[in-house]
Point group: C2
Chain length 155, copies 2
């Protein structure tokens, strides 16, 4: 399956970049995976709603013809790692060729994104930086693969 | 406040070590913080209950005279980052000098740990490696500090 991840905000923290590289390396034998990060649409002290809306429009433009989009959002459905593995397997078994995950910027998602008919999942009730959310998502994607393939990793 | 974190399993992955260092540096102006990691009590393919029990006894021995212990466990209470900040502030306001967090090893906690009268919190319904749990906990401890001090970090 082709996995694509879109997020707002640069991925620039050194340890995060190293962690992302590690998980991409681990995942790539099983999936094609691409990460696209949009720049922030303004400094977070300016008009937040305008910034969020502008940032939201980028996702809508990039994903206008996409069906299989999963929004990572604090108030989305929370899955255990086993349930997430089943979630991924269902997409695969249904013949889905591309599955897209989107992570919000520091200000989160705008209403124009949240109102889309896209599945919403939550990695945690806690707020993560966009970089930490990316790291945790990649680890869970790898973990899901090990679960679905019966590899020793998840206990 | 003195924060102590106990976990089972080495912290050895390079990017995790770098991330832990970063957050320790950010937290130390506000709290003393110490991380103690116990070695695994056996290879995870051996008798798991025995390993978990042995690993559990280490926590019980190290914490026998401690009152303020928080167990990080998937089925613990889930807090938002704001609620976690309030949780930390309550401990501080009550004059607590030391607050201890414990993270399980790959096999998780034994019954002898889970049956202790200790608060249980969950970072996520998903399973994290002990290293990722440490990283996420440290980021949330720093985030809680910024929230409680009105610093610009958490949105």
């Amino acid at each position: 399956m082709n996995l694509e991840i879109y997020l707002t905000g640069k991925v620039k923290t050194k340890f995060i970049l190293e962690g992302v590289e590690q998980y991409l390396k681990w995942i790539r034998p099983y999936h094609k995976i691409k990460i696209t990060s949009f720049p922030l649409a303004g400094s977070t002290s300016a008009n937040r709603d305008q910034i969020k809306k502008k940032e939201g429009e980028r996702y809508l433009k990039a994903l206008q013809n996409e069906k299989n989009v999963v929004v990572l959002h604090e108030r989305g459905e929370e899955l255990s790692s086993m349930e997430f593995a089943t979630f991924i397997k269902k997409w695969q078994n249904s013949g889905t060729r591309k599955l897209i995950f989107i992570i919000g910027g520091p200000l989160g998602f705008s209403d124009n994104v949240l109102s889309q008919n896209w599945k919403k999942l939550s990695l945690s009730r806690m707020t993560f930086t966009h970089e930490m959310a990316l790291l945790v998502l990649l680890e869970q994607l790898y973990r899901a693969e090990t679960i679905n393939r019966g590899m020793i990793y998840h206990y």
